[in-house]
Protein backbone atom coordinates (compact mmCIF):
# COMPACT_ATOMS: atom_id res chain seq x y z
CA UNK A 1 0.00 0.00 0.00
CA UNK A 2 2.81 2.31 0.91
CA UNK A 3 4.59 1.43 -2.35
CA UNK A 4 1.41 2.13 -4.30
CA UNK A 5 1.06 5.54 -2.64
CA UNK A 6 4.67 6.36 -3.43
CA UNK A 7 3.99 5.55 -7.13
CA UNK A 8 0.96 7.89 -7.22
CA UNK A 9 2.65 10.91 -5.64
CA UNK A 10 3.52 12.49 -9.00
CA UNK A 11 0.04 11.92 -10.39
CA UNK A 12 -1.60 13.34 -7.32
CA UNK A 13 0.67 16.38 -7.51
CA UNK A 14 -0.16 16.84 -11.20
CA UNK A 15 -3.92 16.51 -10.60
CA UNK A 16 -3.70 18.90 -7.69
CA UNK A 17 -1.87 21.46 -9.82
CA UNK A 18 -4.33 20.97 -12.69
CA UNK A 19 -7.28 21.53 -10.39
CA UNK A 20 -5.73 24.63 -8.83
CA UNK A 21 -4.75 26.14 -12.18
CA UNK A 22 -8.19 25.42 -13.65
CA UNK A 23 -9.87 27.19 -10.76
CA UNK A 24 -7.54 30.20 -11.11
CA UNK A 25 -8.05 30.38 -14.89
CA UNK A 26 -11.82 30.20 -14.53
CA UNK A 27 -11.79 32.95 -11.92
CA UNK A 28 -9.60 35.20 -14.09
CA UNK A 29 -11.79 34.64 -17.18
CA UNK A 30 -15.00 35.27 -15.26
CA UNK A 31 -13.87 38.40 -13.50
CA UNK A 32 -12.37 39.93 -16.66
CA UNK A 33 -15.40 39.02 -18.76
CA UNK A 34 -17.94 40.53 -16.37
CA UNK A 35 -15.77 43.58 -15.76
CA UNK A 36 -15.55 44.39 -19.46
CA UNK A 37 -19.21 43.54 -20.18
CA UNK A 38 -20.56 45.72 -17.38
CA UNK A 39 -18.66 48.88 -18.35
CA UNK A 40 -19.19 48.52 -22.11
CA UNK A 41 -22.91 47.90 -21.69
CA UNK A 42 -23.58 50.93 -19.55
CA UNK A 43 -21.58 53.26 -21.79
CA UNK A 44 -23.17 52.15 -25.04
CA UNK A 45 -26.61 52.40 -23.45
CA UNK A 46 -25.81 55.97 -22.56
CA UNK A 47 -25.82 56.90 -26.26
CA UNK A 48 -29.52 56.14 -26.72
CA UNK A 49 -30.41 58.03 -23.55
CA UNK A 50 -28.34 61.02 -24.70
CA UNK A 51 -30.04 60.87 -28.09
CA UNK A 52 -33.49 61.08 -26.48
CA UNK A 53 -32.32 63.85 -24.16
CA UNK A 54 -31.04 65.84 -27.17
CA UNK A 55 -34.27 65.36 -29.12
CA UNK A 56 -36.38 66.50 -26.17
CA UNK A 57 -34.12 69.55 -25.64
CA UNK A 58 -34.20 70.51 -29.33
CA UNK A 59 -37.99 70.13 -29.48
CA UNK A 60 -38.27 72.24 -26.33
CA UNK A 61 -35.99 74.95 -27.76
CA UNK A 62 -38.09 74.98 -30.93
CA UNK A 63 -41.25 75.58 -28.89
CA UNK A 64 -42.86 72.29 -29.89
CA UNK A 65 -44.08 71.43 -26.39
CA UNK A 66 -45.27 74.99 -25.74
CA UNK A 67 -47.31 74.77 -28.94
CA UNK A 68 -48.75 71.41 -27.89
CA UNK A 69 -49.85 72.93 -24.57
CA UNK A 70 -51.21 75.99 -26.33
CA UNK A 71 -53.13 73.94 -28.90
CA UNK A 72 -54.53 71.84 -26.07
CA UNK A 73 -55.69 74.97 -24.25
CA UNK A 74 -57.58 76.12 -27.35
CA UNK A 75 -59.48 72.86 -27.61
CA UNK A 76 -62.41 71.96 -25.38
CA UNK A 77 -61.26 70.43 -22.09
CA UNK A 78 -60.93 66.69 -22.32
CA UNK A 79 -59.79 63.75 -20.27
CA UNK A 80 -58.19 62.27 -23.41
CA UNK A 81 -55.03 63.63 -24.94
CA UNK A 82 -52.50 61.97 -27.20
CA UNK A 83 -49.27 63.41 -28.55
CA UNK A 84 -49.28 62.42 -32.22
CA UNK A 85 -46.17 61.96 -34.45
CA UNK A 86 -47.31 64.95 -36.51
CA UNK A 87 -47.01 67.20 -33.45
CA UNK A 88 -43.39 66.16 -32.88
CA UNK A 89 -41.99 65.65 -36.40
CA UNK A 90 -39.84 62.92 -34.87
CA UNK A 91 -38.75 61.39 -38.17
CA UNK A 92 -36.42 64.38 -38.66
CA UNK A 93 -34.51 63.66 -35.46
CA UNK A 94 -34.97 60.04 -34.47
CA UNK A 95 -32.99 57.30 -36.27
CA UNK A 96 -35.25 54.69 -37.85
CA UNK A 97 -34.17 51.89 -35.52
CA UNK A 98 -35.10 53.75 -32.33
CA UNK A 99 -38.45 54.03 -30.61
CA UNK A 100 -39.21 57.03 -28.40
CA UNK A 101 -42.13 57.31 -25.97
CA UNK A 102 -43.01 60.61 -24.32
CA UNK A 103 -45.46 61.73 -21.71
CA UNK A 104 -46.32 65.39 -20.99
CA UNK A 105 -47.94 66.23 -17.68
CA UNK A 106 -50.98 68.46 -17.11
CA UNK A 107 -52.62 68.33 -20.51
CA UNK A 108 -55.80 66.52 -19.51
CA UNK A 109 -58.69 67.98 -17.60
CA UNK A 110 -61.64 66.78 -15.59
CA UNK A 111 -64.53 68.59 -17.24
CA UNK A 112 -67.25 70.06 -15.09
CA UNK A 113 -70.16 69.45 -17.46
CA UNK A 114 -72.78 71.80 -16.08
CA UNK A 115 -70.67 74.80 -16.95
CA UNK A 116 -72.88 77.56 -18.40
CA UNK A 117 -70.94 80.78 -18.88
CA UNK A 118 -73.96 83.05 -19.12
CA UNK A 119 -74.81 85.49 -16.39
CA UNK A 120 -78.04 84.55 -14.67
CA UNK A 121 -77.96 80.95 -15.85
CA UNK A 122 -77.47 78.21 -13.29
CA UNK A 123 -73.79 77.79 -12.85
CA UNK A 124 -71.80 75.02 -11.30
CA UNK A 125 -71.13 73.79 -8.73
CA UNK A 126 -73.96 75.03 -6.54
CA UNK A 127 -74.11 71.94 -4.37
CA UNK A 128 -71.22 69.71 -3.31
CA UNK A 129 -70.47 67.49 -6.27
CA UNK A 130 -67.71 65.01 -6.88
CA UNK A 131 -65.83 65.11 -10.15
CA UNK A 132 -63.78 62.08 -11.01
CA UNK A 133 -60.17 61.99 -12.12
CA UNK A 134 -59.34 61.92 -15.81
CA UNK A 135 -58.71 58.18 -15.83
CA UNK A 136 -61.62 57.49 -13.44
CA UNK A 137 -59.37 55.25 -11.36
CA UNK A 138 -58.75 55.52 -7.61
CA UNK A 139 -55.24 56.54 -6.62
CA UNK A 140 -52.91 53.61 -5.99
CA UNK A 141 -50.94 55.54 -3.39
CA UNK A 142 -51.16 58.67 -1.31
CA UNK A 143 -49.89 61.76 -3.12
CA UNK A 144 -49.32 65.40 -2.32
CA UNK A 145 -50.09 67.63 -5.30
CA UNK A 146 -51.42 70.97 -6.46
CA UNK A 147 -55.00 71.40 -7.66
CA UNK A 148 -55.51 73.62 -10.69
CA UNK A 149 -58.91 75.13 -11.53
CA UNK A 150 -60.03 77.01 -14.59
CA UNK A 151 -62.52 79.56 -13.34
CA UNK A 152 -64.71 82.09 -15.09
CA UNK A 153 -66.08 85.03 -13.14
CA UNK A 154 -69.32 86.16 -14.72
CA UNK A 155 -70.35 88.96 -12.42
CA UNK A 156 -67.93 91.40 -10.90
CA UNK A 157 -66.87 91.08 -7.30
CA UNK A 158 -64.94 88.46 -5.42
CA UNK A 159 -66.41 85.08 -4.70
CA UNK A 160 -65.02 82.11 -2.88
CA UNK A 161 -64.80 78.42 -3.49
CA UNK A 162 -64.21 75.67 -1.02
CA UNK A 163 -63.71 71.97 -1.23
CA UNK A 164 -65.30 69.37 0.96
CA UNK A 165 -63.25 66.24 0.65
CA UNK A 166 -59.95 68.10 0.82
CA UNK A 167 -60.52 69.10 4.41
CA UNK A 168 -57.49 71.31 4.64
CA UNK A 169 -58.64 73.78 1.98
CA UNK A 170 -59.91 77.13 3.12
CA UNK A 171 -62.26 79.17 0.95
CA UNK A 172 -60.29 81.13 -1.58
CA UNK A 173 -61.31 84.22 -3.45
CA UNK A 174 -61.47 84.63 -7.18
CA UNK A 175 -61.85 88.05 -8.68
CA UNK A 176 -61.10 87.44 -12.33
CA UNK A 177 -61.27 84.60 -14.80
CA UNK A 178 -58.24 82.39 -15.31
CA UNK A 179 -56.26 79.49 -13.91
CA UNK A 180 -56.01 79.13 -10.14
CA UNK A 181 -53.49 76.79 -8.60
CA UNK A 182 -54.10 75.74 -5.02
CA UNK A 183 -52.36 73.51 -2.54
CA UNK A 184 -50.44 71.36 -2.12
CA UNK A 185 -53.12 68.93 -0.93
CA UNK A 186 -52.83 65.43 0.34
CA UNK A 187 -54.81 62.98 -1.81
CA UNK A 188 -55.33 59.77 0.08
CA UNK A 189 -54.90 56.34 -1.47
CA UNK A 190 -58.18 55.25 -3.03
CA UNK A 191 -59.37 58.80 -3.78
CA UNK A 192 -60.95 58.91 -7.22
CA UNK A 193 -62.17 62.49 -7.48
CA UNK A 194 -62.53 65.91 -5.95
CA UNK A 195 -65.68 67.36 -4.44
CA UNK A 196 -66.06 71.06 -5.07
CA UNK A 197 -68.71 73.56 -4.05
CA UNK A 198 -69.21 77.29 -4.18
CA UNK A 199 -69.08 78.72 -0.71
CA UNK A 200 -72.67 79.96 -0.11
CA UNK A 201 -71.55 82.71 2.21
CA UNK A 202 -69.88 84.42 -0.72
CA UNK A 203 -72.94 84.35 -3.00
CA UNK A 204 -74.68 87.71 -2.94
CA UNK A 205 -78.28 87.40 -1.72
CA UNK A 206 -80.79 87.18 -4.50
CA UNK A 207 -78.06 87.06 -7.13
CA UNK A 208 -77.26 84.21 -9.44
CA UNK A 209 -74.02 82.48 -8.78
CA UNK A 210 -71.36 84.55 -10.36
CA UNK A 211 -68.54 82.07 -10.76
CA UNK A 212 -68.17 78.93 -12.85
CA UNK A 213 -65.54 76.26 -12.86
CA UNK A 214 -64.72 74.85 -16.29
CA UNK A 215 -62.41 72.07 -15.25
CA UNK A 216 -59.76 70.99 -12.81
CA UNK A 217 -56.61 68.89 -12.91
CA UNK A 218 -54.17 67.59 -10.34
CA UNK A 219 -50.80 68.83 -11.38
CA UNK A 220 -47.89 66.53 -12.05
CA UNK A 221 -49.84 63.29 -11.82
CA UNK A 222 -49.99 60.45 -14.32
CA UNK A 223 -53.79 60.77 -14.40
CA UNK A 224 -53.55 64.12 -16.20
CA UNK A 225 -50.55 63.40 -18.47
CA UNK A 226 -50.88 62.93 -22.23
CA UNK A 227 -48.49 60.61 -24.03
CA UNK A 228 -47.45 59.36 -27.44
CA UNK A 229 -49.01 55.98 -26.67
CA UNK A 230 -51.17 55.77 -23.60
CA UNK A 231 -52.04 52.09 -24.10
CA UNK A 232 -48.35 51.24 -23.99
CA UNK A 233 -47.99 52.93 -20.61
CA UNK A 234 -51.21 51.67 -19.00
CA UNK A 235 -50.71 48.08 -20.10
CA UNK A 236 -46.94 48.25 -19.58
CA UNK A 237 -46.15 47.13 -23.14
CA UNK A 238 -42.58 48.38 -23.09
CA UNK A 239 -40.06 45.76 -24.23
CA UNK A 240 -38.69 43.61 -21.43
CA UNK A 241 -35.76 42.06 -23.31
CA UNK A 242 -33.60 45.13 -23.94
CA UNK A 243 -32.26 48.27 -22.38
CA UNK A 244 -34.70 51.18 -22.04
CA UNK A 245 -33.18 54.60 -21.52
CA UNK A 246 -35.30 57.09 -19.65
CA UNK A 247 -35.23 60.64 -18.39
CA UNK A 248 -37.30 63.72 -17.79
CA UNK A 249 -37.22 67.44 -18.44
CA UNK A 250 -39.21 70.29 -16.98
CA UNK A 251 -40.82 72.30 -19.76
CA UNK A 252 -41.61 75.92 -18.98
CA UNK A 253 -44.45 77.32 -21.08
CA UNK A 254 -44.58 81.07 -21.28
CA UNK A 255 -46.59 83.66 -23.11
CA UNK A 256 -44.61 83.80 -26.38
CA UNK A 257 -47.43 85.61 -28.16
CA UNK A 258 -49.81 82.71 -27.81
CA UNK A 259 -51.04 82.84 -24.24
CA UNK A 260 -52.43 86.35 -24.22
CA UNK A 261 -54.49 85.87 -21.07
CA UNK A 262 -51.62 84.61 -18.93
CA UNK A 263 -47.98 85.70 -19.17
CA UNK A 264 -46.78 82.35 -17.80
CA UNK A 265 -48.83 79.24 -18.33
CA UNK A 266 -46.77 77.04 -16.04
CA UNK A 267 -44.38 74.12 -16.04
CA UNK A 268 -44.97 70.65 -17.41
CA UNK A 269 -42.98 67.54 -16.67
CA UNK A 270 -41.91 65.65 -19.78
CA UNK A 271 -40.88 62.04 -19.25
CA UNK A 272 -39.39 59.91 -22.00
CA UNK A 273 -38.26 56.37 -22.69
CA UNK A 274 -36.10 55.25 -25.60
CA UNK A 275 -35.10 51.83 -26.86
CA UNK A 276 -33.90 49.99 -29.93
CA UNK A 277 -36.71 48.52 -32.01
CA UNK A 278 -35.12 45.15 -32.75
CA UNK A 279 -32.72 42.84 -30.92
CA UNK A 280 -31.64 43.10 -27.34
Amino acid sequence: MEALMNNKKGLIFALDAALAVTVVVLMVINSTYYFSISSKGSLSHLQSTKLASDIVAVLDQGGTFANIVYDDSKNPPSNVFEITPAMLNLSTYLPANYQLWMSLSDVKETVIPAFAPVAGAPCFPAVPTTFYFANAEPLQREIKAMLQLNVTVINSGSVALSSINLGQITPFSVSQSGLYTLGPFKFLKGTNGVTIVLDPSFVPTGQPQNVCIHWFRILGTEEYAGSTNETMYIQDLFPKDRFIGSGERVIGVKKSGNFTDNPYEGTHLLRYRVWLKGGS
Partner: protein, 171 residues
Protein backbone atom coordinates in the same frame (compact mmCIF):
# COMPACT_ATOMS: atom_id res chain seq x y z
CA UNK B 1 13.20 -10.50 -8.20
CA UNK B 2 13.87 -8.10 -5.43
CA UNK B 3 16.44 -6.20 -7.56
CA UNK B 4 14.09 -6.07 -10.57
CA UNK B 5 11.30 -4.78 -8.32
CA UNK B 6 13.55 -1.98 -7.03
CA UNK B 7 14.63 -1.08 -10.55
CA UNK B 8 11.03 -0.90 -11.84
CA UNK B 9 10.00 1.23 -8.85
CA UNK B 10 12.62 3.81 -9.84
CA UNK B 11 11.51 3.84 -13.49
CA UNK B 12 7.85 4.26 -12.53
CA UNK B 13 8.76 7.17 -10.27
CA UNK B 14 10.78 8.94 -13.02
CA UNK B 15 8.03 8.46 -15.65
CA UNK B 16 5.47 9.73 -13.18
CA UNK B 17 7.64 12.77 -12.51
CA UNK B 18 8.02 13.53 -16.25
CA UNK B 19 4.27 13.24 -16.79
CA UNK B 20 3.66 15.51 -13.82
CA UNK B 21 6.20 18.08 -15.03
CA UNK B 22 4.77 17.96 -18.55
CA UNK B 23 1.23 18.53 -17.29
CA UNK B 24 2.46 21.29 -15.01
CA UNK B 25 4.32 23.04 -17.84
CA UNK B 26 1.29 22.81 -20.14
CA UNK B 27 -0.97 24.26 -17.44
CA UNK B 28 1.45 27.05 -16.57
CA UNK B 29 1.71 27.90 -20.27
CA UNK B 30 -2.09 27.95 -20.60
CA UNK B 31 -2.39 30.11 -17.50
CA UNK B 32 0.23 32.56 -18.73
CA UNK B 33 -1.32 32.83 -22.19
CA UNK B 34 -4.83 33.25 -20.78
CA UNK B 35 -3.60 35.81 -18.30
CA UNK B 36 -1.85 37.77 -21.07
CA UNK B 37 -4.87 37.55 -23.37
CA UNK B 38 -7.33 38.79 -20.78
CA UNK B 39 -4.91 41.37 -19.49
CA UNK B 40 -4.63 42.77 -23.02
CA UNK B 41 -8.40 42.74 -23.38
CA UNK B 42 -8.80 44.45 -20.03
CA UNK B 43 -6.29 47.12 -20.95
CA UNK B 44 -7.96 47.83 -24.28
CA UNK B 45 -11.33 47.85 -22.51
CA UNK B 46 -10.06 50.41 -20.00
CA UNK B 47 -8.55 52.41 -22.85
CA UNK B 48 -11.83 52.31 -24.77
CA UNK B 49 -13.84 53.30 -21.69
CA UNK B 50 -11.50 56.22 -21.02
CA UNK B 51 -11.97 57.42 -24.59
CA UNK B 52 -15.76 57.05 -24.37
CA UNK B 53 -15.90 58.96 -21.08
CA UNK B 54 -13.71 61.75 -22.46
CA UNK B 55 -15.77 61.91 -25.67
CA UNK B 56 -19.05 62.08 -23.71
CA UNK B 57 -17.67 64.73 -21.39
CA UNK B 58 -16.44 66.93 -24.25
CA UNK B 59 -19.54 66.45 -26.42
CA UNK B 60 -21.77 67.23 -23.41
CA UNK B 61 -19.78 70.38 -22.66
CA UNK B 62 -19.91 71.46 -26.31
CA UNK B 63 -23.71 71.27 -26.63
CA UNK B 64 -24.66 72.41 -23.11
CA UNK B 65 -22.08 74.92 -21.92
CA UNK B 66 -20.75 78.24 -23.25
CA UNK B 67 -17.33 77.35 -21.86
CA UNK B 68 -15.15 79.30 -19.47
CA UNK B 69 -14.63 82.22 -19.75
CA UNK B 70 -18.11 82.55 -21.20
CA UNK B 71 -16.87 84.76 -24.05
CA UNK B 72 -13.68 82.75 -24.67
CA UNK B 73 -14.11 83.03 -28.42
CA UNK B 74 -13.60 86.80 -28.32
CA UNK B 75 -10.15 86.61 -26.70
CA UNK B 76 -7.13 87.35 -28.87
CA UNK B 77 -5.42 84.05 -27.95
CA UNK B 78 -8.30 81.83 -26.85
CA UNK B 79 -6.16 78.71 -26.89
CA UNK B 80 -4.05 80.24 -24.07
CA UNK B 81 -6.80 81.85 -21.99
CA UNK B 82 -9.60 79.31 -22.20
CA UNK B 83 -9.91 76.63 -19.54
CA UNK B 84 -13.10 75.01 -20.87
CA UNK B 85 -14.32 75.06 -24.44
CA UNK B 86 -18.09 75.13 -24.83
CA UNK B 87 -19.98 75.85 -28.03
CA UNK B 88 -23.48 76.55 -26.69
CA UNK B 89 -25.21 79.83 -26.12
CA UNK B 90 -27.91 77.94 -24.21
CA UNK B 91 -28.81 74.29 -23.68
CA UNK B 92 -28.34 72.46 -27.03
CA UNK B 93 -28.20 75.73 -28.98
CA UNK B 94 -24.81 76.26 -30.64
CA UNK B 95 -23.37 79.76 -30.95
CA UNK B 96 -22.18 80.70 -34.42
CA UNK B 97 -19.05 82.55 -33.22
CA UNK B 98 -17.98 79.79 -30.81
CA UNK B 99 -18.29 77.04 -33.43
CA UNK B 100 -16.40 79.15 -35.98
CA UNK B 101 -13.60 79.95 -33.54
CA UNK B 102 -13.30 76.32 -32.44
CA UNK B 103 -13.11 75.10 -36.03
CA UNK B 104 -10.50 77.73 -36.87
CA UNK B 105 -8.40 76.96 -33.78
CA UNK B 106 -8.57 73.25 -34.53
CA UNK B 107 -6.75 74.00 -37.77
CA UNK B 108 -4.21 76.57 -36.56
CA UNK B 109 -3.68 75.52 -32.91
CA UNK B 110 -4.63 71.86 -32.93
CA UNK B 111 -2.27 70.75 -30.16
CA UNK B 112 -3.20 73.68 -27.91
CA UNK B 113 -6.90 72.89 -28.31
CA UNK B 114 -6.19 69.24 -27.61
CA UNK B 115 -4.52 70.26 -24.35
CA UNK B 116 -7.48 72.44 -23.35
CA UNK B 117 -9.77 69.45 -24.04
CA UNK B 118 -7.50 67.23 -21.85
CA UNK B 119 -6.90 64.90 -24.80
CA UNK B 120 -3.11 64.78 -24.64
CA UNK B 121 -2.94 61.03 -25.40
CA UNK B 122 -5.62 61.10 -28.08
CA UNK B 123 -6.65 62.93 -31.24
CA UNK B 124 -10.06 64.32 -32.08
CA UNK B 125 -12.28 65.03 -35.06
CA UNK B 126 -15.25 67.39 -35.09
CA UNK B 127 -18.01 67.56 -37.70
CA UNK B 128 -21.15 69.68 -37.76
CA UNK B 129 -23.70 68.67 -40.35
CA UNK B 130 -27.34 69.47 -41.05
CA UNK B 131 -30.12 66.86 -41.15
CA UNK B 132 -29.48 66.36 -44.89
CA UNK B 133 -25.88 65.34 -44.05
CA UNK B 134 -24.39 68.48 -45.58
CA UNK B 135 -21.19 69.33 -43.71
CA UNK B 136 -21.22 72.81 -42.17
CA UNK B 137 -17.90 72.56 -40.31
CA UNK B 138 -15.25 69.89 -39.98
CA UNK B 139 -12.16 70.25 -37.82
CA UNK B 140 -9.37 68.19 -36.27
CA UNK B 141 -7.82 65.01 -37.62
CA UNK B 142 -9.81 62.32 -39.39
CA UNK B 143 -9.74 59.08 -37.32
CA UNK B 144 -7.23 56.57 -38.63
CA UNK B 145 -5.98 54.84 -35.50
CA UNK B 146 -6.73 51.48 -33.96
CA UNK B 147 -9.42 52.75 -31.59
CA UNK B 148 -11.96 55.47 -32.31
CA UNK B 149 -15.04 56.58 -30.41
CA UNK B 150 -17.51 58.63 -32.42
CA UNK B 151 -20.48 60.33 -30.73
CA UNK B 152 -23.36 62.10 -32.45
CA UNK B 153 -25.35 64.77 -30.64
CA UNK B 154 -28.40 66.69 -31.79
CA UNK B 155 -28.41 70.46 -31.36
CA UNK B 156 -29.75 73.68 -32.86
CA UNK B 157 -27.50 75.85 -35.01
CA UNK B 158 -28.74 78.99 -36.72
CA UNK B 159 -32.30 78.00 -35.74
CA UNK B 160 -32.04 74.66 -37.53
CA UNK B 161 -31.46 71.17 -36.13
CA UNK B 162 -27.92 69.93 -36.71
CA UNK B 163 -25.92 66.83 -35.85
CA UNK B 164 -22.65 67.42 -34.05
CA UNK B 165 -20.23 64.50 -34.31
CA UNK B 166 -17.20 64.32 -32.08
CA UNK B 167 -14.65 61.53 -32.40
CA UNK B 168 -11.81 60.71 -30.02
CA UNK B 169 -9.25 58.33 -31.43
CA UNK B 170 -5.92 56.83 -30.51
CA UNK B 171 -3.10 56.98 -33.05
Amino acid sequence: MKIRYSSSRGQAGITDLFVAIAIFIVLVTITTLTWDLYNARLESSIDYDTMVIKAYYIADTFVKSPGYPVNWESYSNPELTTSTIGLASSDRVLADAKVGTFASLSTTQYDAVRTVLRLSLYDYYFVLRDTNNTVIYSAGKIPQGKFAVNLARLAVYQNKPVIMEFAVWKP
